[in-house]
């Protein structure tokens, strides 16, 4: 209990002191995960929409594959990227290992199936009438598809939030391909591992609290963007 209270105190202290190293680590965490999310979104939203709307040979298999990869263990994603980028691997010449770029790549591997799969589900949850209404009002095919994406936006935003949460909080991939190098590839999660290993439990907890606050902040911003009222969060009345 002592450790936990101490950790909360330490965390607040760390934030207030604006420790430069901590700021650097936090910024890197955000940089890496937001970049990865951006790429995952740019690739995943169209991919998910395509999977949801277009019927083609192998669609069912691809969908199932996407759902499976949604649960890809971060450390495995890290390992795969590591093997590719390692000196012994096919892409070794680019010397990308232990750089933030490698971390982004690994996180894209994690985030893409998530965004793609959840977008597909969000679009599939819409009924035929969405397209019919748009088409009957004279929208072009592209216009109607964009409208479908727009109508599914709540689900898509949920997909992005979920993905970001997962990326910012994971440690397996970034540790593997980043190497936790101070000043270069050290992020919040790998810092927690290090501090714990060094025996600084309360400092580790403090950093963890910062991580939580970050996640909370991101969630707030995204919900603000959503702009809809919170009537979705109301309960079903059981009378």
């Amino acid at each position: 209990m002592e450790v936990i209270l101490q950790g909360i105190k330490e965390g607040i202290g760390l934030i207030l002191s604006l420790d430069p190293e901590l700021i650097k680590i936090t910024l890197l965490s955000l940089q890496v995960s937001l970049s990865a999310l951006f790429v995952a979104a740019v690739l995943g939203i169209p991919a998910g929409t395509l999977l949801a709307l277009k019927s083609f040979w192998g669609r069912k298999t691809l969908l199932n594959l996407t759902y499976t990869l949604m649960g890809l263990p971060p450390v495995l994603a890290g390992l795969i990227v590591f093997l590719f980028l390692s000196n012994r691997g096919p892409l070794g010449e680019f010397q990308l290992l232990f750089t933030p770029t490698a971390m982004v790549v690994a996180q894209v591997l994690l985030g893409f199936p998530l965004v793609c799969g959840l977008t597909a589900r969000a679009v599939m949850a819409l009924r035929q009438e969405v397209y019919d209404t748009a088409a009957m009002l004279g929208a072009t095919r592209t216009g109607a598809i964009l409208t479908i994406i727009r109508e599914a936006r709540i689900g898509i935003i949920a997909a992005l939030t979920t993905a970001l949460g997962r990326l910012i909080a994971e440690v397996g991939a970034v540790m593997m391909v980043g190497g936790n190098i101070q000043g270069k590839t050290r992020v919040l999660t790998t810092s927690i591992v290090l501090e714990t290993r060094m025996g600084n439990d309360s400092r580790a907890l403090g950093i963890g609290i910062i991580l939580l606050l970050l996640a909370f902040l991101i969630m707030l911003i995204i919900l603000k963007l959503e702009k809809r009222s919170f009537k979705d969060d109301s309960t079903i009345q059981i009378i």
């Binding site: 009924r127 009438e129 969405v130 019919d132 209404t133 748009a134 088409a135 009957m136 009002l137 004279g138 929208a139 072009t140 095919r141 216009g143 409208t147 727009r150 109508e151 936006r153 709540i154 809809r228 009222s229």
Partner: protein, 242 residues
């Protein structure tokens, strides 16, 4: 006067089931037409084919004098001359204004003109006060009125209505029936109405088609159909036995 729609030997089959089989059908512009029949008689299917939302399996379909080849450009061009309101019309996420403006924006009409036409349509349906409300917060009746305004704003030649008042309160129903009549009379928009309500048909439709098991078994001026039905099945339908 060219027929708006001309069907010959038109059928729609789902797997083994043939749900629609129309040998001959011609719809001329100007009036309100009603399509009635028991559930599963193919009314909605016919409507969806006429509005080019669903392919026919076989037969000829001619819309506004054109043979339908289902090409993207043709569909776009023809659909932009039609509009549809369904039983519980889907409202896009956003304000009433956004919904009513949707079709106009799709046609790349200027924001200025869009605003005018949106306000006109909403005013016609008595929904102008709701212009900035979130569309999905409205009641069923209000949503249907917005749906009609939305369809009206794009100035269609034909307006399809698929049981537009089945799900809403009687007062709004009557309102909508009156609006429909006005739209037809004042704006010369042809109306094709699928409905369950006999009173509605008698009130609004000049000509009625009765469907049964995918076929049109009787058609003609509404008064005649109700007064003196030729087909026994029509008689049964009117009595409510089916």
């Amino acid at each position: 006067m060219t027929a708006l729609f001309r069907l010959s030997n038109l059928s729609k089959t789902y797997g083994e089931r043939r749900v629609l089989n129309v040998e001959q059908l011609e719809i001329s512009p100007g009036h309100i037409y009603a399509i009635m029949g028991p559930n599963g008689s193919g009314k909605t299917t016919l409507l969806r084919i006429l509005s080019l939302l669903t392919f026919n399996t076989a037969g000829q379909l001619e819309v506004f004098g054109e043979q339908i080849n289902w090409s993207k450009s043709q569909l776009l061009r023809l659909r932009r001359q039609m509009a549809m309101v369904t039983q519980s019309s889907y409202m896009f996420e956003g304000s009433v204004y956004y919904n009513v403006a949707y079709g106009l924006r799709a046609r790349k009409i200027s924001e200025r003109e869009t605003k005018i036409r949106v306000q006109e349509s909403l005013a016609l349906l008595g929904m102008l006060d709701f212009m900035n409300h979130p569309a999905n917060n409205l009641s069923g009746g209000e949503k249907q009125k917005v749906a009609i305004a939305r369809a009206l704003a794009v100035n269609p030649r034909v307006l399809f209505l698929d049981e537009p008042t089945s799900n809403i309160d009687p007062t709004s129903s009557v309102d909508i029936e009156n609006y429909v009549k006005r739209i037809n009379e004042e704006h010369s928009i042809t109306i094709i109405l699928v409905t369950h309500k006999i009173f509605q048909t008698r009130k609004l439709a000049k000509e009625t088609f009765l469907m049964w098991d995918g076929r049109i078994i009787e058609q003609g001026p509404t008064r005649n159909l109700f007064h003196d039905p030729q087909d026994t099945r029509t008689r049964r339908f009117l009595k409510g036995e089916y």
